[in-house]
């Protein structure tokens, strides 16, 4: 199992590289929920540096695209040395088709968020020789194990971070500030939370970026307690540091790298970043209305 992380600043790449096998970066024109939007020159620089360090580099282009946006995506892909990237993470099947037509099927990692929730749907792109698929976040560890044992390509999952649970194309914070007749100074700010009146202890991070508005789980998902098992199942485990910083990654990653839990480190992290950790849906089944 390889470890990937997101990154806020290029200057931290070398220190982070000690603990991971690769990095995930993106640009806001085509990616969303990014730690930072990297411009082309920075992306080229990342390619050089990761190559020198022997690390992998993934480009995340996980927006949903209309035809016009997809055309722009194709043009951007043509302008980049795609063969130098380890993979391109997409959320839209149209983006996969565009890459396939360019001869880069084998670079595609499809991340349909909630949709790869069973063994068949996870594998449904098998015939197209893509690199991999992100498994749904909303399934149990038991379900995940079954899918992993029957996978036809590489399996990716977010192993640590605030998992997103809502993606709207609307600029919902901008609309709200308009309603308040105030300027929107909150676009792309990473310190926003929404609190529901009956869930006062569950502040949900919310982010408005160019692609829309996103809401995330209150607790940080952690898979630290299951690394031995995941090692046998997963091809890539992603540490998503959105809403944190590179120091956060430097604190968390050694535990994932060494598969060694350090409770005092965990306590310090949780105190510093005012966060709680949980195991998401690993042991929590969601309700399916009973069959007739």
């Amino acid at each position: 199992m390889k470890l990937l992380t997101t990154i806020y600043e290029l200057k931290h790449l070398e220190s982070l590289a000690s603990f991971v096998d690769g990095f995930i970066i993106g640009n806001q024109r085509f990616g969303t929920r990014l730690t930072k939007s990297y411009e082309d020159d920075e992306i080229f620089s990342m390619l050089d540096q990761t190559k020198k360090l022997g690390k992998e580099l993934f480009l995340v282009c996980n927006q949903m695209f209309n035809d016009e946006q997809l055309e722009a995506f194709k043009n951007w892909m043509k302008s980049l040395p795609l063969h130098q990237f380890t993979g391109v993470i997409v959320a839209d099947l149209g983006a996969y088709k565009a890459l396939e037509k360019m001869g880069f099927s084998d670079k595609v990692i499809y991340n349909p968020e909630t949709l790869a929730a069973n063994v068949y749907d996870f594998n449904f792109l098998s015939e197209f020789k893509i690199k991999g698929v992100y498994v749904a976040k909303e399934i149990t560890l038991e379900d995940l194990t079954y899918i992993a044992n029957h996978k036809n390509y590489q399996m990716f999952m977010v192993g640590h971070g605030h998992l997103n649970m809502f993606y709207s194309k609307r600029q919902l914070i901008d609309n709200f500030m308009n309603f308040n007749l105030e300027e929107n100074i909150y676009h792309e700010r990473q310190d926003l939370k929404i609190i529901e009146e009956n869930r006062l202890n569950e502040p949900f991070p919310i982010l408005e970026d160019k692609a829309g508005t996103h809401v995330f789980r209150s607790n940080v998902f952690s898979s630290l307690n299951h690394l031995e098992k995941l090692e046998k199942l997963m091809d890539y485990l992603v540490i998503d540091t959105l809403f944190k910083d590179d120091d956060y990654a430097l604190s968390v990653l050694p535990m994932y790298k060494n598969k060694k839990i350090n409770q005092s480190v965990i306590d310090q992290i949780q105190l510093k970043y005012d966060e709680k950790w949980d195991e998401g849906f690993f042991y929590k089944k969601t309700v399916y209305i009973p069959k007739g």
Binding site: E113, E138, R170, N178
Partner: protein, 392 residues
Amino acid sequence: MIELLAPAGDLEKLKIALLYGADAVFIGGQNFSLRARASNFTLSDILEATTFAHERHKKVYVTTNIIPHNEDMDGLIEYLKDLEARHVDAIISASPFIIDMALKHTKLEVHLSTQQSAMNAETVNFWHDRGITRIVLARELDKHQIRSLKTKTNAAIEVFIHGGMCMSYSGRCSLSNNMTDRDANRGGCAHSCRWNYDLKAGKTSVSKHAFSMSSKDLEALEQIPFFIDSNVSSLKIEGRMKSLHYIATVVSTYRTLIDTYDQKGKIESFEPYLIELQKAENRLTSHGYLEGLPGVEQQLYNMRSEQPTQLFIGLVESYDVETQIATIGQRNYFEIGAEVEMFCPDGTVKPFKIEYMTDIDGVDLTVARHPKQILKIKVPFLVEPYAMLRKR
């Protein structure tokens, strides 16, 4: 001619939708369907539904649009064969598993659910190449993008024109899963996006007002001619849990608009259609994404927009031509002397006054105050079953 597609939460609503002008209805079966709280159809109901529809040269589509987990996959092929045996015209699905099993094991036509959020021609053609005949597009496209997309595909295109809006890209939301343990992709959506929240920057509230992601419902009267001219195949009304009167009114209004545009090639004014819609509409409406990215005017803040309508007061069950007595089921309070109108399945509206009313045993009544009570009233013209009595 373009198809008008309506929701139906039960057999009565299905009949109403078809009689009031829908060309097709979509319904949920008891397995593999979202909107689990709608009164979903048994296999026996589905056979009755297809029989009723096909006698009128209309169609019935069954939603099999959950995203199953591993444990939910058993029994699918048998269920799909059951639907095929009951002459269902198509299924609406999002899961590749359900789609592929239907295409492999049955001759059912398959439509791609909006749960897959198809936004571009590449995606639409991917699914079309896989054997899917019709694609229900994502709601996040404007009308020009829809027209342009249609020029790049041979797939039939279905678009939403009326009803509730998912705030997230459909199918990719797990707010409900996380906040209530109810899986939105398996029929349990709790509509958490419509709740009130406090938006905070750091520790400070951004506003004294509650933050909500809730949207006004979609309404697309003015876009209908554009869609007809764009070679769109089907116009979809949302709302399997809506009332009989809502379905009849919304369907009839769009039916009249489509037919008028078909006959005259233009719509002089949308105002009469809007007025008619408002007789049933109990939420504020907007054009959603159809005219561009929704702004503040399309949102709902600090309010529930439902405005219960008391206009619908009775549903006709039968009519005796000789005595001019109609048997109706009461739906809202009314009195002798009330000025009312009969809203008929062909879209006509005929005014009259309630001058005579008895209960089922012939006892004279001056007021109708009991819901679903069977009443007999005098109606001075021929009416058919399923006509609706409304206050004026």
